[in-house]
Amino acid sequence: MKFVIVTNNPRVRDELGKEFEVDFADITYREVLCKVRDMIYGGHKLLTHPLSGSVKPNETPYKSILVDKRWGKMDPQDASIIENSIITADKFSVKFPEMPDSVREDFQLIDTTLIKSALMSIPEIF
């Protein structure tokens, strides 16, 4: 397995954790982006767009991003994408600090389908 799923989504951990390497932490949406940013500056390659989905940053609490486990020279395009993603996320205020569980679960589901759609694009898996 050459990639890791960086996520704060417990559904991704539970549903994909057995089959794939999942780096789960109970952190905020922004903290997931920052964690991935640090990996990119460490030379890891970004595999999925951090702003996947039309559910807006801070509207959904959940984010999952695919990152290549191997590292080499930092990719400036990846750095640009993650930095712009953080700037964009910061434009959106946190909307629902007290979210009903049912809505929370729906956000988890949508984030899971977004990352699954990316996994389908990796030739060696499917």
């Binding site: 767009h49 702003l51 909307k95 699954k116």
Partner: protein
Amino acid sequence: MKKLELGNILIHDVQFSNEGSKVENGVLYVNKEEICKIALEDENIASCEVFLARPGESVRITPVKDVIEPRVKVEGKGGIFPGWIAKVDTVGEGRTHVLKGAAVVTTGKIVGFQEGIIDMSGPGADYTPFSKTYNVVVKMEPVEGLKQHEHEYALRIAGFKIACFLGELGRNVTPDEVKTYEFDNIVESAAKYPNLPRVAYVQMLQSQGLLHDTYVYGVDAKKTLTTIITPTEVMDGAIVSGNCVSSCDKNPTYVHMNNPVVTDLFEQHGKTLNFVGMIITNENVYLADKERSSNWSAKLAKYLGCDGVIISQEGFGNPDTDLIMNTKKIEAEGIKTVIITDEYAGRDGKSQSLADADPSADAVVTGGNANQVIVLPPMETVYGHLEFVDTIAGGSANNIDAHGNITVEIQAITGATNETGFNYLSAR
């Protein structure tokens, strides 16, 4: 040469009927039982209600799943919505009748943060094109325990079936007007218009997952390579919507069937430009897919010998990266681009509009700032589920005041900042 005639039957009212549904003297008569019978053919749909919403009425429809125009193929190969309702024959030739002015609007709860508001009157009505259509609103509830994927599928297919049922009512009606769209192959058009600039349309399709998908001839767009489609094919429903999240800049199926970039390019074809074709490309989550798809957009634009292309985006955020990749790579082939996007520039309009940018993207048309705030006064009647307004994109917690006024960003309004230009916002 391909030729499609669109026979528009102008609809100026919609009424319920206890007899069979019909179109008569520009009035669409709808029999509720006939509509519900179609919806309930699907064992995953537990209940169905039908409402009518006319322009100017004090009616709010939310959350909107899809908007679909009733059409029927009366001559030529195939049928409306190939791959879903009709077989996969290539469409876009012959004659199609349209109930122009009528629309099927589907509503139903799939997830708890769903959105899409259509107000038929008041300030919100100015922001959605579907406040001007005579809407047959179909509210469907799923059987208990149905998973969201199956639920989305059930609502989507029911909407297409109902639109086709209503479209069929216009088969033998004489249209009020007939518009003809002729499309030459590239050899013919090059010979006919040697001195006009060759322009193609690159349409980007949302393709990321549940409530974020688009389909072409029944195929999930995220599993496709960038390809060429004849512009008249989309008029017969070759591209359909499976997405409705952040509904301001998503294309309901109605918009695909009435894409204004296509009709405007046809309008200018042979006059100021030579409309050489339409390229459709996806907006996947996986970055290598974005690279591949934008490589192919540039390759096909070059292959068509384009001097210029118009690129329309669908959505915001990660599609900004697809948009910029398409633009950079097409410009690098020596082809001029004009892009159509929308903006998330903050409530004050002062923030950076897009999540990506490049100096080559120097000709931009905007559909508007989706963060713009609007207050929607209460409506006498709500069709759908108003409780979701609290949790929709553009809404915020407790955004309904004691008088029932809803404060939202216009991103909650269906079609408000549409990136094909199928909207009303303007800087004029």
